[in-house]
């Protein structure tokens, strides 16, 4: 691929595009646009119908959550983490609790580990179905959008039944989960899973055997395995390009070691990997089936016992207040790997540092090779194919006075190093990251 075009030359896309394509027209899309569900601005340089260069300007959904987090206590932090994203609303807290449990040395009872897996996998089903509907809409197939969203409702009912809410479940807490799944609810869960199993054939025929969907997605927005690897794609985007990369397989956590998850690629359906939008649909459908199997196994193998190691919140708060150290939590969210880093200090209720890396942040760069030489009409489906979650991803946006500044990598690194120094001067000398000089 044309690597030269992908590399920024120190200035925004205008100069880049001007160099590579003087005859191009500029097409701005966003931040508010019917094809986009969230605010982000794409600028495309097109020659006829073909996209020659693209520049992406995020920052419209940035709320400064990491900054807010350093002013709240750790229990409030869970609810803030939940609201980083409403679609993967259990993935962020699951990564956060792992980070804090590592930092504070908290054990989690086995039953809680299984419940976390069940909620995480139910969320994957709902998120992938949601995506399938949006993708169908982007292709102009609204009947399918309505069908998919109709069959998505039972999983939301299930989540509501188990957790008390359709979205934002508030299930994880440090040291366990907040609600048990009592055995009376197993039959309901199993019924719903049977229902989804019975729909798999329909989905395959609607999405994968439909000639118009195939024509619109085969060969569209391709991402080679090398590009996916070098641009750090994660989740279904990476797996659709043939990389067998799945946190549940590579670094099993919660109850996943018992469940032996395998990363799925289109090869598992007997297809040749092409890394296009069609393959991304294939991977997500395979993962829905995988999630159904995982939940069924969890229900069978779930051990009895406590659901949290701190039944009283006051005891938990007292333990957390004494805790000191750093921790990293990782979770395979529906869109890919989410990482939370946290640093705690004794006698401080709020964390000193909280850093979030959402999957869309990693899947952002693969957009550039995907868009190259595609048609304008394919923009919505290619943009949707990574299942972007802009509100998860938003990073840095500095406003000084009325002037907006874009921060480049060097400046960002400088700021990061400065912050490390600043933080290091405040934390205990034994910590590895906090060593001075």
């Amino acid at each position: 691929m044309k690597k030269a075009k992908l590399e920024p030359e120190g200035m925004a896309g205008e100069k880049r595009a001007g160099k590579t394509c003087p005859a191009c027209f500029e097409v701005p899309i966003g931040p508010i646009h019917p094809a986009l569900k969230e605010g982000i601005r794409f600028t495309f340089w097109v020659e006829g119908e073909r996209i020659r260069a693209v520049d992406i300007r995020p920052g419209f959904m940035h709320r400064g959550i990491e900054f807010m987090g350093t002013k709240r206590n750790l229990v409030q932090l869970i609810y803030l983490a939940e609201r980083i994203c409403g679609i993967c609303s259990v993935s962020h807290p699951l990564a956060l609790v792992q980070a804090v449990e590592q930092a504070a040395g908290i054990e989690v009872p086995p039953r809680a580990q299984y419940i976390r897996v069940i909620i995480g996998e139910l969320e994957r089903i709902h998120s992938h179905l949601l995506w399938a509907g949006v993708a169908a809409h982007e292709l102009g197939f609204d009947t399918l959008l309505h069908y998919v969203w109709k069959v998505r409702e039972p999983v939301l009912d299930l989540l509501e039944d188990v957790t008390g809410n359709r979205i934002n479940y508030a299930i994880p807490i440090y040291g366990g989960v907040r609600r048990d799944i009592p055995p009376e609810k197993y039959p309901k869960l199993k019924d719903a899973l049977r229902y989804y199993r019975s729909l798999v054939d329909d989905f395959v025929s609607f999405f994968l055997r439909d000639p118009s969907i195939e024509a619109r997605t085969r060969g569209v927005g391709p991402l080679s395995p090398e590009e996916a690897d070098s641009l750090c794609a994660v989740g279904p985007t990476a797996r659709a390009s043939g990389l067998r990369k799945d946190l549940r397989q590579d670094w099993p956590y919660f109850a996943y070691p018992d469940l032996e998850v395998k990363a799925l690629t289109p090869e598992d359906m007997g297809l040749e990997v092409r890394g296009d939008v069609y393959d991304r649909i294939v991977v997500r459908l395979l993962e829905v089936v995988q999630s159904i199997e995982l939940i069924e196994r969890c229900l069978e193998e779930m051990p009895e016992g406590e659901i949290t190691s701190f039944p009283k919140v006051a005891a938990l708060m007292a333990h957390l207040k004494k805790a000191e150290g750093e921790g990293i939590g990782r979770h395979e969210a529906p869109r890919g790997e989410v990482i939370h880093y946290i640093r705690l200090e004794a006698d401080r209720e709020a964390p000193v540092v909280w850093k979030v890396k959402a999957p869309t942040y990693s899947n952002f760069m693969p957009w550039f090779p995907m868009f190259e030489d595609q048609e304008i009409a394919d923009i919505p489906i290619v943009a949707a194919s990574i299942d972007p979650c802009i509100c998860c991803m938003e990073r840095v946006h500095i406003v000084r006075g009325d002037r907006e500044e874009v921060i480049w990598k060097e400046e960002l690194l400088r700021l990061s190093w400065e912050k490390t120094k600043r933080v290091a001067s405040r934390v205990a000398p034994h910590a590895s990251l906090g060593r001075k000089g």
Binding site: P34, G39, H62, R63, G64, L80, S89, W149, I167, C391
Partner: protein, 153 residues
Amino acid sequence: MKHAELLERLKLSGFKRALWVYHLNTGGCNGCDIEILAALTPRYDVERFGIKLVGSPRHADVLLVTGTVTRPMYERVKRIYAQTPDPKVVIAIGGCASTSGVFYDSYNVMGPVDNVIPVDVYVPGCPPRPEAIIDGVVKAVVKLERLLEGKEG
């Protein structure tokens, strides 16, 4: 119940047109946005009353605003409001749009939607259920009727 009520209101009112809504995310977390979409899809299906999501604020009667207003969206929200033809009703969907919710106290948050544009109906919840959103739209219809009759300006 809500559906029946809504249908009744639409029938009885002087509001003879289909109600067109425009959805604007000003910095929310997507939670409210997927519930709005859920309200439009078969289980709740508000489209049968002619309530339709449109792609441009210039076609809309109602603005559904979700999320707390972030700094880069501030001017854009104002512009979208100005582009919506009168009479119009603004519904703030969810805790963030109504009060900023958990996102208070940040350098990049300009506060709830009513700091930027006038809001007529508030729908609380994090996120509100589709039924609550439909209820908010029912209240918006009442307001639109009054605006059309010239009772409120």
